[in-house]
């Protein structure tokens, strides 16, 4: 499992091993301030980061 969240310290505290920092509390895998195309690109990058974490044994 990989977790995407903006509240990383909490995720680490409960023992989550792979945690990717999300963009914000109110839009974890998005950013309402960005124009749609850029927001989508941001989401792709975030999801790719999450997928990379799944393939690594490094604590994140």
């Amino acid at each position: 499992m990989v977790q995407i969240t903006a509240a990383k310290p909490i995720a680490k505290m409960v023992g989550s091993n792979r945690v990717v920092l999300g963009t914000g509390i109110v839009h974890v895998t998005g950013d309402a301030k960005l124009p749609p195309a850029e927001e989508k690109e941001l989401r792709r990058k975030l999801v790719q980061k999450a997928l990379d974490a799944l393939q690594s044994n490094e604590q994140l």
Partner: protein
Amino acid sequence: MRIAHYLNQFFGGIGAEEHAGKELDIRDGAVGPGKLLESLLGGNAQVVLTFICGDNYAVEHQDKLTAAVLKKLRETKIDLFVAGPCFDAGRYGAAAGALCRAVQTALSIPAVTAMNEENPGVDLYRDTVYIVDSGTNVARLRDVVAKMAALGKKLAAGEPIGAPAEEGYLRQGWLRDQLVEKSAAIRLVDMLLAKLKREPFESEMPATAFAPVPMPAAIGDLSKAKVMLITDGGLVPKGNPDRIEGTAATRWGAYDIKGRDDLRAEDYEVSHGGYDTRFVQQDPDRLVPLDALREMEAKGVIGKLHDEFLSTCGRSNPLSNTRRLGREMVEKIKKEGVDAVILTST
């Protein structure tokens, strides 16, 4: 006694969830609960500074916030730092705890805060910060602030602090030996009999602790893997068919995304009382990134995206619920032959 007080956007009188992104504002004098604090302390107690900050800003920019607060406190003579009370608000509790610890460590100023035991701020900071047990009921604000005042007064005066139950703070997790009347044997039998009779008993060691979770091995070949999306942000189909609660959810749901490349606003709603759900409501992919995962699936980066996403609400949810929800979800995950999970959390 000169006090500095930290409040979130709500208790600071700025507004509700829609203002959670507000940056730090520093005011002279007391605001909201700070006025109550002053009156309860009486005498020459004065809240000379109030820091007000939006909960989202506080979590997303914790370092910046901490630096700003410390900077201001270095320039101002302060005897006590008070944060909250935060009750159930997780972001608020995490920020309050962080600031209290920073103020103690960097400036040696005593600090006190208050929150409900399940607040994530507790487990993060309980060992170094005095956190008054506020419970969840905001209507008890006065009682809670009174306890904070009493404890804060002792801390500022350098007086020894008594046991958690006496002073009203949450156990910090430090062990202190004490010689008692009853032998361990008698205490053991007493405890068993109370448990059998369903009478309240107090274990001498709290049973809950976050045991380290062994790290599952990395996925060897993601292009062959079946991936599932799960969220605790409370995204549910319009009408909330499974009636997943927006606080302390006892249920979770599995929602069909077969053939969909994208989550559409009109099909979903959000059941979660703990954040401003507007942005996710506008575009649910901002919480459950279906569109990005479909692209990955089409490109062959992942083998397959499972046809459902699982959802529940993580807000103020006691471990007694979430442990079970997690176990049940795991059964589903295993049943569906899923290899990897992406969990998005607010």
